[in-house]
Amino acid sequence: MQDEVLLKVEHLCQYFGPTKAVDDVSFEVKRGEVFGLVGESGCGKTTTGRSIIKLYDITGGNVYFRGRRICAGTKSYKDAIVEARKRYADACKDKELSPDEVAKIKAETQAEIADQKLQMKKAIADQKNGDKIYAKELCQQVKDEYEAKIAAANNQEELQAIKAEYAVALRKAKKQKFITRIQMIYQDPIASLDPRMTVEEIIAEGLRIQGEKDKKVIREKVYNVLEMVGLVKEHATRFPHEFSGGQRQRIGVARSVIMGPEMIIADEPVSALDVSIQAQVINLLNELREKMGLTILFIAHDLSVVKYFSDRIGVMYYGKMVELAPSDELFLNPMHPYTKSLLSAVPLPDPQYEKKRQRIEYKPLEAHDYSEDKPTFREVKPGHFVMCNQAEYDKIIMELK
């Protein structure tokens, strides 16, 4: 595994009106790893995944993919501007300050507001036009490449061929979107496939949208991915209802794999499937990951599956990330009381163990006293982060020693 950070989520906030679905979540996903996201339903794990691929416009924070900002929210800038204005208003009311000092504060705050406004503009531009900028850059690359080729062309025929190729490449480059480097697999294999399209049409839809018109190329690619996900090419002309649940989920996987993504967001891909078929799909994802070097953000609520599949796991509770650690570490040394409660609820296929298992209940009011010191996300051990305040942090450190 390399140490390159592929996806970086910074203070991600996603509010729906007064509901804070995701509130100040930060994490990094390295290239080639599987990052698991767990939590109870409604804790914002799916929203996090959807915000990352821009299905929603995020409220605040930044998401970087391959170092390029793909999502940007304006909340932090707006907050800063409000804060600066308030500071200035306070200064005006303050009778002890001399006019000079007030003027100084005014200049300071105005400079800050201007700066924040500029940053906000940039953020909005990135959020809105990131894909266009990426397409433009791609076009430039293609242009440079082909202009060199054209210049080096020897005869008329070769020149014609290159020009034709150039036109196709340019058309495709124009239609490229950066965000399609990340693909999503959805939970429900029945609802996420159009019943009126054949498997081939479903799988090839993304390619067509990106400007691929050559039917031969499309067909070949479709057959390739079908084989890759364990289906056969005869399946290409069938409709989704003719498949079993596991096969449908394979079609969903094929649809995202054909785009050649670097990262896949798998939103509860096995929750709706039978146990035996779950194993098939998990094995398939594992194979693809090895073959294509995929990075996977794995969202699920079945902890044994997440543990089996992920390298690192983030635990979410009511829109906040409360603990993040390598998966073995998280299961061995859970530190946040919510994680402990979550782990105590996992049923294992072992009747004797189950008879003795005691569920730990998590009551935020009893577990924490955040009336004075608000909690923040702190690293308590290399790679192990916990949401805690200073008192709790000290306690954890003591226990670790």
Binding site: D274, V275, A279, A345, P347, D350
Partner: protein, 726 residues
Amino acid sequence: MMAREKKLQVKDLKVSFKTINGKVQAVRNISFDLYKGETLAIVGESGSGKSVTNRAILGILAPNAIVESGEVIYDGKDLLKITEDEFYHIRGDKISMIFQDPLSSLNPIVKIGKQMTEAMLLKGKANQKENKSMLNSYIKALEGYLNKAKNVGRLPADKDINSMLNIYKSILLKGSKLEEAYYSAKNSASNGIKDVSDLIFMLEKNSVKDLAGDVKEIVELAKASVHPYVVDEAVVAPVVEEVKQGFQMAKRGDNQPLIDALKKLLAIFTEGDNKAKISSFAKAYYDMHGDNSISLDLPLEQLNEKLEQYLENKFMKDFTEYTVAALRTADDDMVETRTAAINYINEMLAKFEADGDMVDNAKLSAFEKKSAELVEKGINPLCTYKVSPAYIYKTSVEEAIRVYHASKKNNEAEAARYAAESKKYEKLVASGKTPDWKVVPANIVDLSLNLANIRAIAERVLADFQYSMDNVPDFVKEAENFTDKMQVYAAGAVQQITKVIAKNRAIKLMEEVGIAEPRRRYNQYPFEFSGGMRQRIVIAIALSADPDVLICDEPTTALDVTIQSQILELINNIKKARNVSVIFITHDLGVVANMADRVAVMYAGKIVEIGTADEIFYEPAHPYTWALLSSMPDLDTKEKLDSIPGTPPNMIYPPVGDAFADRNRYAVAMDYKAQPPMFKISDSHYAATWLLHPQAPKVDPPKSVLDRINRMKARMEEQEAAGKEE
């Protein structure tokens, strides 16, 4: 193993579906018993027939389903053969179901509260009526036999039976009323303990959301808990005043007085909740017919003892004696009627045998009528424990004969259709075309099987009658059972469910299933609930009728672990508290390990392995169970998962041999030739695989399964060692 009461018996159930492509055999000859108070988990892939089996039990199969054979016996009735009207008394009330999909099982345009109380109110009235009529009919039967006993000289002729029965009935009804009042007050007190301590906690943390509502609720509970043997009104009234004043103070920001008052109230509730129970039936008798010889101010234990003795000496002793005499007379009667039934049926069966089973319609119908009449007479009206096949004789034999006639007709029609279709097909082939359709094979039913069915039903009744005549029951014990059962009916007869009671019960249930702020939620619509919350409502509705048997069809598959864990705990607690039998359908083996006493593994419409949870998890015997176990990761799994290759077979053409053979790495040649029978491994453990045949090669389970079992054993030993150290 101890003989336990069988709550539900499924025998040889076979269900198929008519489809345009032919007949799909969804369930193929399944048999299992469900004991009282146990959880039976049914595990298998989707399409293995688990849901179909349970829908058959509840009589809610899709219209294209055909129940080909089998019996589902509950409370002496064959659920496959009773009428829809009779099913109204059972479905949802005695046997309740929690469905898989909470979205489609709630009505979107009716408020949650109404949906929860609707069934309670309807069923409440119906139950009251039903219990009253059951009580009356038993007492009437008892009266009849008491008089008969008097006539045959078993009882002294001077006793006034009528007045004795009247007294008995009044004790039952009055006692039940006292009991109900006591429990309602006690429940209020124990609810009060929970609510008050919660509120104190919230007040101390300064995070109360709806103080006015909470205080109002607690005041109501305090009023409801007033009862001579729970909470004294004179004690609780001033404290309630204090709470009200404290609430006024708290509104202005000072919580302390309210907290103090609540703590006092908590002490009162706790004391009330811990008080011993008054012996209601004895008290009822003493109130009505007592002679003031006992002082009611005695400490409760002594008082109970005295009251019970009083009842025993003055009334129950005599009454039990008389009941025993009545039961004895009834049994004597039964010998007569049962002998008549046995003789007739035996005679007719012999005749059928002599005729070579070639029976015409008229003769069969006559046999049905006469024998049903005789068997009906052979049923003891004083028997409260309905396990005899005599109870289901009439409906079963009627149905079996109907099926026989229908099959006869069907066979003729099918043969004609098949002939016509093949002719058409051959014609097409002869003219050089290749038709794109196939001739659907003729669906011919084996008539001799149907006749054997009728014979089996009759023979079972014969055996039961013979057995009951050979074994004279213990009448004293029977009399005890009888009085116990009468108490249950009396309790049902006085139990009234008003809108207020229903609402309170619904809110309590909502609380029990973990819904926050149930009072506000009560008036919301289903769309305002999340998926998990909706599922909890569905569970609460299923529990509201207090069922005997609860069928859970993947109730937690859509929920996350914490809530799943809560719901499973909830179902387990309810199972223990109410001694409910549970059928739990799931494909999550972790959940099975948590819930199940016994496990049945289903594949392609058959039970392939059945045993206790320990046997299935620690000593699995069927390759399919191995495959299931190894395809699911647990927290220690590192290696590649063994997924089961392929898909289940097409059940329109079920394989000749073992249905799992094609996906089975351990399949032996015999698996492709014949279906394996159930091999017995232990008294409770059976598996259908040829691997268990004495001549089969010895095969060990796959390594991943063995590893896992070893891990489990190691963990168990570790825990035991840790337990010893402590």
